[in-house]
Symmetry: C2
Subunit: 506 residues, 2 copies
């Protein structure tokens, strides 16, 4: 087959696979938003059937043959051309898939879906022992998968990280995390000894779901979320689902006495959605059009959630809007509200953590899962190791395992290697945001005027539209001129801490 013909064949094949994947994506979205209780068993079977179809397509020898022909015929030269990016992406996906025997792939899929259901029940009942059976099975399978995927150098955990964050290794991440951990612990010490704290009751008041929904729609619409090309729904655990071009869906949840969690989780998911909407749509269904990594995805959600959503300019604009939807908020005053929103206060729960302590939640999970996959720690030792880490960082002992080691869904579904991306995302976000500010000027006035599109445009151009063209560390170098590092994030937090300390001063 001639090169052009082979490449065209691969494009078609890739897009068809992507349509099946996005149908599977809708099955997952629906499972978490709409599915009637009695439909669960059928949905598992549907998902298994679609997963198995996708596995067979990704490992199809005929696909590999044509891929080989295209690779052989491709002209050497531009490594960053769409074609080069796609050929690399297809090769990576084929090689990784074929290293895992079909039996293991099916066992992993089953264990992940059973594990999630077991986790839901066990977390509700605070039943660690009940969950442990499933976790042991998953950890064993993940070790086997890591072994199969692993190239031979370094630790096998790297192979799982690489699934979500291509090119990263535990050792490289450790270098960043050691510095981040030290800085965070320094801040924590300072904050704990500070005499004044904002009153968290300032953020509490009656918050009917309809008002929250209306406020959230106004906020994320203002940031640039396009409701003609997306949806906002309700689910117990908020998430973003990118079904395809023109169809990116986020979910949120509501507390009846505070709109804060629902709002920030919505801005977070909207950040993911803005990235998905900004990916090059003409490359949809091929590697070139895909998000490059979990960490870059997270950099977008956390940039909007924290750097934008907790800034003074943002609330210059949105505080009056919030007061329109929640009239009791007027008596709080914008200054006090802003301090309360930015409060740094250790929590046992990752998803409720502020932007400073959040990274410690990630670092401890990174350390624990690294030992788990490396067999330096066994699943039954996990609760003790977890609680010790919590005490060491936060002087908090979880009240029970549901609030401790069982709080996150990730491990129950087999997503080991996923956590580090959250903290890497914070680092990327700080670097992107600093560079954008340098180019666009002080964002406070822009945000205060409700102008978020210059920032969005900057991200569209420098991050979103690049898709998978560059590996994450190359992307940040190209966009900001600097290497991925911790200092920029430290600088961002130091400035915020100074401001908080000044405003909190008696």
């Amino acid at each position: 087959m001639k090169y052009l013909e082979a490449y065209q064949w691969l494009l078609d094949y890739s897009k068809t696979t992507a349509y099946y994947e996005s149908a599977l994506g809708l099955l997952h979205w629906d499972q978490r938003t709409c599915l009637p209780a009695a439909g669960g068993a059928h949905r598992s079977e549907q998902i298994a059937a679609m997963t198995s179809l996708l596995y067979r397509r990704t490992t199809d020898p005929h696909f590999a043959e044509i891929l080989g022909e295209a690779e052989a015929g491709a002209s050497a030269g531009d490594d960053l051309s769409d074609e080069a990016v796609n050929l690399r992406g297809w090769r990576r996906s084929f090689d990784r898939s074929t290293r895992i025997p079909e039996g293991l792939a099916v066992a992993l899929a089953k264990a992940g879906s059973q594990g999630q259901l077991a986790w839901q029940a066990a977390r509700k009942a605070n039943d660690w022992k009940g969950f442990l059976v499933f976790l042991k099975n998953i950890v064993a399978l993940k070790r086997e998968q890591a072994q199969a995927l692993h190239g031979g150098e370094g630790e096998i955990y790297d192979a799982l990280i690489d699934d979500f964050d291509q090119g990263e290794t535990a050792e490289k991440i450790e270098g960043l995390f050691t510095k981040l951990e030290a800085a965070t612990l320094r801040w924590l010490e300072k904050i704990e000894s500070a005499p004044h704290k904002p009153d968290p009751d300032l953020l509490r008041g009656p918050c009917p779901a309809t008002a929250q929904s209306a406020f959230i729609r106004e906020v994320i619409g203002g940031l640039g979320f396009d409701f003609e090309a997306g949806r906002l729904d309700f689910s117990a655990h908020p998430f973003t689902s990118s079904i395809g071009p023109g169809d990116v869906r986020i979910t949120t949840r509501f507390d009846s006495d505070s709109f804060i969690k629902g709002l920030f989780s919505s801005i977070h998911e909207a950040g993911h959605a803005l990235y998905a909407h900004g990916l090059p749509q003409n490359h949809w269904g091929t590697p070139r059009g895909e998000p490059i990594s979990m960490a870059i995805h997270e950099s977008q959600s956390r940039l909007w959630e924290n750097m934008v959503g907790k800034s003074t300019g943002f609330w210059d604009h949105f505080y009056p809007v919030a007061c329109k939807h929640f009239p009791w908020l007027k008596k709080t005053g914008k200054e006090q509200f802003l301090l309360a929103v930015n409060e740094i206060r250790p929590s046992p729960i990752r998803t409720e953590a502020d932007e400073v302590t959040y990274n410690l939640h990630i670092i401890m999970r990174f350390k624990l899962e690294r030992m788990l996959i490396g067999a330096q720690l066994e699943p039954d030792e996990l609760p003790q190791a977890w609680n010790e880490a919590m005490e060491g960082y936060f002087h908090i002992r979880p009240r029970n395992d549901s609030e401790g080691v069982m709080q996150d869904v990730h491990w129950s579904s087999g997503a080991f290697g996923y956590f580090p991306g959250y903290a890497l995302g914070n680092l990327y976000a700080a670097q992107f945001y600093a560079k954008a500010q340098k180019e666009l000027g002080d964002p406070r006035q822009m945000f205060a005027a409700g102008e978020f599109s210059p920032l969005l445009q900057w991200l569209r151009e420098n991050v979103h539209s690049q898709g998978s063209r560059f590996l994450p560390r190359d992307l940040v170098r190209r966009a900001t001129g600097g290497e991925l590092e911790v200092d920029c994030f430290i600088d961002y937090i130091e400035k915020k801490n100074d401001w908080l300390a000044g405003a909190n001063a008696p």
Copy 2:
């Protein structure tokens, strides 16, 4: 391959196909309830990809080979065994599918999905010309499909009817419809000359969507709809979607000044859902577990909507419930309400038609689409033909094409041959209902006490649980002892007309 092995292979194959089909079903459901406007193009591509996958599975020569082995090895004898029913179903499906080239199958799926979107927009804008482009394309493709499917005898339109109502032909249907048309026109003449009419304003009053939704949930829950295994959502055009066991979804719509349309359309869809829930779940994914035809499906929806939902006993029970949700209804009084609900009054809109004139709407569509597929009528001549038919039957001229020829979604999606089943459904319903009454006794007292489960059980046993075991005309013979005919329906209407005339008498 031994018979048993071949049969087991076919069972597995059939179920996997069914999982893909039900994923496609969710894509369709979502398109009509959730899909963001900008996601339409992507959804068409997803649907096309899944349709093409299903086409390849249904026409796979390897499948045909194993099917042939199973057929050869099957022991002659019981024609109604599960195995015999399944082998027949697989054979029918393979033979029909292989007659349609893949290109045509994909083109049909695409045209149907694009056609539906175009119809939505065109109906809103009353833009017949805009819609005509899509309709012409669909009609051309459907003629091609009918030609390919057609066995050689009779008209090619039969092949499309057979898709929805196995064994029926235009000629057989014409025989029934001629009699039904004559009886209906006779009734209409009588009714038009009757001096007293119920006041339709009795059914109007403030109907907030939340109250309507609560009332509908109470009604269909009372009839037996299981909300743990289903959903009620909103859509512009109500429909039922059977995703799989434990997951059957209906939709409804609300008028702000009347709950009547929303209620009866919900009971109608709930009737479909009760049938779907009553199909033999252990045979799901094989022909034996499928609904046998569109007409039988419609017999269930129209039985609950009209024969039950417009009966005296039903309102003995539900009138007080309605008054709870809509307090203004109290002053109407149950008797007057019942007369208004049962009023026979020609309307330009099929879905708003009473149970007498409804059949004329179907008969005119049957005549028009028969001519369209047979090329005795071209799409651009449709509005005129439509309006003439409306005048002939009802002395009504639609105010515009949105209220006329563009009122239904069916043709836009390529569903030609579907309409006759609605009226056949009325005939089947009358025969099932008459027989059920004979066995269960006068339903008025049961319904008045809120007891609908004896009727549901009768239908479960005699209709639902039979799945595709019997062809529709065999099913009605077995369940009622009689052939499909018009008299039973005529008898039902005559009785109701006598009652209405008596109650309406001055």
